[in-house]
Amino acid sequence: MELTGAEIAIRCLQEEGVEYVFGYPGGAVLFIYDALFNQGKVKHILVRHEQAAVHAADGYARSTDKVGVALVTSGPGVTNAVTGIATAYLDSIPMVIISGQVPTFAIGEDAFQEVDAVGITRPCVKHNFLVKDASEIAGTIKKAFYLARSGRPGPVLVDIPKDVSNQKAPFNYPSSVSVRSYHPSQHGEVGQIKHAVQLLLEAKRPMIYAGGGVILSDASRQLTELVRLLGFPVTNTLMGLGGYPATDKQSLGMLGMHGTLEANLAMQNCDVLLAVGARFDDRVIGNVKHFNQEKRKIIHIDIDPSSISKRVKVDVPIVGDVAYVLGDLLAVLHSSKQKPEPQALAAWWAQIEEWRGKRCMGYRNSDEIIKPQFVLEKLYEVTRGDAFVTSDVGQHQMWTAQYYKFDKPRRWINSGGLGTMGFGLPAAMGVQIANPGATVACVTGEGSIQMNIQELSTCKQFRLPLKIVLLNNRYLGMVRQWQEFFHGNRYSESYMEALPDFMKLAEAYGHVGMRIDKPADVEPALREAFARKDDLVFMDFRTDQTENVFPMVPGGKGLSEVILAEEL
């Protein structure tokens, strides 16, 4: 049976079990939209800006284990999508982006709405394709989904010229796919796993450092079993929150630039470090030289060999899928008669408790002015710690990571690698669509929310009952904080003037708006908002303008060179 390229593309999505496509139509994708119109299986979510389409597909993917799908037109459709694609790339999110392209005969002629989509996205995709014949569409889309979800996941772009989408070809969806140059490993090397177990069992001051790889690999169960079996302390990265229950006593919380004192000092002072699906990035271990001053053995499990020994030299590299490797590691541990040394471990825990006793996350609350940390504590209580929470980027993101105790994976959705302001609202849309009926909150700032505020319109169209928690301090808070600490209090362009009345703005889009000025009103407002199951409620919390995020390891410093709130 012959179909047009556009029909083939949509049939491929059906074959992949795609339920939702997030997109925005335009000239080069008209045939694809026509094919979409003529079927009922794949539903389309019309966003208001292509960046939001990609973030929404991203949120959809992060909150499930499915591949997110976005559809954009050529030229500006693609360039608008780039920020979203780079966001997904930096956090290894499985996604397929289908873009329209000008007709093949016009490529290279600076045609209307032409950009070199493959060229522009090359540095921020796992792979990309330009399809030059309708007969190649099915095989290419099959490959795209396979590459996006296997190995270290990532976004894959498929660029389809307009004439190709209107060209007829036979449709056969391949049942299997193989790429001769691509063989991601699943199981780690057995000898290395045994070596790792030996090191762990002999450790005096062990530490487990778990990242986003645990979430992506759906390995929370294995990680939790391992941590409990060994009795070791564990810390999660920003991307790994929820990979181990934050309310468990063995959890030291998040590490890194705004991590807890106990997590950072345990990282610095441990003698055996097990890194699981994490990549020792600059926001996590700060200054590499400072980190290397302490001698320790490092075991590193990662599916991507290039993540191993990139910034920090590793003693036992284990290349494999975190879930498989942890499973194998557990099997070796279970069969071993040896147990971790109880005395050494007790002494190590006593040290950690001393650090924990400093209560680095304490803050001075106020009756007069709303403290952002207080809002997040109340958000946690009111949602019983069981909401999906997305965030934008800045102080509010760090406070959410610090004060909302994520016990489950895929509940915390944020742009960790790229740090994309404007991510939170569209990502929350994708989360809500993937999880209808679930409680979805978007914690944001007045800077970030304005970077994709037009999506309130999408939320109205698709009746997405998000709860937007705006921590409005009238400053680009993180910029202001760095200017206070490192730039002599010169607040260059970090003050947000001429802000809209967010309550009225929410109402203008057909939603419920609230403005909260007093600490006493925080909890009642949250309760009222979350009780409105069918409405999007936009809560404008007027917060303390000068509050800073602590603890803080300043850029370029080591993990023990931390600034605590009390020191200022």
Binding site: R122, P123, K126, L147, V179, R180, S181, Y182, P305, S306
Partner: protein
Amino acid sequence: MRHIISLLMENEAGALSRVAGLFSARGYNIESLTVAPTEDATLSRMTIVTSGSDDVIEQINKQLNKLIEVVAVMDLSEGEHLECELMLVKVQAVGEMREELVRMAEIFHGRIIDVSDKTYIIELTGAGSRLDSFLQAIDRSLILETVRTGASGIGQGDRILKL
């Protein structure tokens, strides 16, 4: 340290730019890069001459392997290998220099592949350092233009890069 890396990649449009883009995006050095199809028309073979610390070279190898279109990578510098480069030099050849340049070309095992009344084109192959020596050996003012391919490399004996 200088490394010479050989790789096989899919003979597809865009594969070269992925490799070149990787080097520029991650700030790695490229001294030279050559690429051409192999006897298997679906594959191209590339030779890259680069330099960096051991850590950087390890990352370069890993990052190259990560590119979907790269099928196999071998760091030739890790073992016995040969490398060879082709150079064409157009020189001014008039008067007594016509004889002198023929002699110099012979000494360096070069061939004169084109002759005009005022110029020669001399073809030389060999290690890059030998080509450099030739350029230093002749009067610099005689050189009209040079073109070099960059090194091609191959492992010796059992070191074979093939699918």
